[in-house]
Symmetry: C2
DNA sequence: CTTTTGGTTCTGTTGTTCCAGAACCAAAAG
DNA sequence: CTTTTGGTTCTGGAACAACAGAACCAAAAG
């Protein structure tokens, strides 16, 4: 391995740790986050089981579980090559995008729950608080609709090109 | 307690469980989520330490910790009344709103990380993947800017009234 | 058929989170 | 001063999550 390759590898490793933490903080298990991060930065962008295990220095079971949660959530899939039994795992960009969208749309749930609360509080002895709450509900619904609109617009723009 | 009060209490208890689960799923500890939910639906909308403990049937330490994490995150604060040593805890609507906004703005971080990845991949042997990735970055940035815009617009509208 | 390969599933260990109970502490009341 | 009140902090246990290692299994290779 040349010095240049070594530097590249070092940068990749750094990026994986950095992004791994990010994905961890957004809900994935540590190793699962790092697997996803690795598939994002590795070259070429698809790796077989052993390569992932080797790079992350983790056990087979841990890698297997990480990959199966990622695939079951649609964020990763794999390709194969004839004459080669291995699966080559890679980021499923479409599935990932869908995940991002769904997570954003989930924001609307809070609005619905708060609507119920307001209903219950309508004859409350403390209208000032109901009023504050109402502001939040309005904001929440405004945002939920706005985000939906943004996503719809973007999808329409994609359909054209 | 009258039958009507009993029914009301039952509804409140249901709502607290329901919303408690929601807040739990969005990152709070189970009891912490229920404390927040209780403060949202209770009448009047401020309760002292013992009332919260009693309603949720939890230990003092658990309630104390829940309240201190909620206050340190700015989602709850308390008021006092002269001649009464107790603190009356309540939802801090402004702080909560700020939290919601900040969480949404955090979406931009992913865009920055992916920008770095694209930079690294610019001379990749697999431009198809870089291209897909670029789509996600564009979408992510589009959304981040869009959400910021939504929030700014809303704040401007609030400032007027 | 037997062996190897690519991966999954089971079992056990370690570490972390959530909470109860008790000890503790400061301020107010007596 | 001593006692009570309103709450915080310390200690420990139960439950769960993350991972390693080994057993396992199906399909391909020999």
């Amino acid at each position: 391995m040349t010095t240049v390759d070594g530097e590249k590898e070092e940068r990749v490793r750094e990026k994986v740790e950095q992004m791994g933490v990010f994905f961890e903080r957004s809900g994935l298990a540590p190793l699962t986050g790092r697997v996803f991060a690795y598939l994002l930065v590795c070259e070429p962008p698809h790796k077989d089981f052993f390569a992932i295990q080797e790079f992350l220095q983790a056990s087979k079971s841990a890698v297997s579980n990480a990959l199966s949660t990622l695939t079951s959530e649609g964020m990763v899939d794999y390709i194969t090559f004839s004459g080669d039994r291995r699966r080559y795992f890679r980021i499923n960009t479409a599935g990932w995008l869908n995940n991002l969208k769904n997570k954003l749309r989930r924001a609307a749930v809070l609005g619905d729950l708060l609507d119920d609360v307001l209903q219950e509080r309508c004859d409350s002895g403390c209208p000032a608080f109901s009023n504050e709450l109402n502001k939040i509900v309005v904001f929440q619904n405004y945002l939920a609709r706005g985000i939906d609109q943004l996503i719809d617009d973007w999808e329409k723009k994609q359909a054209v090109t």
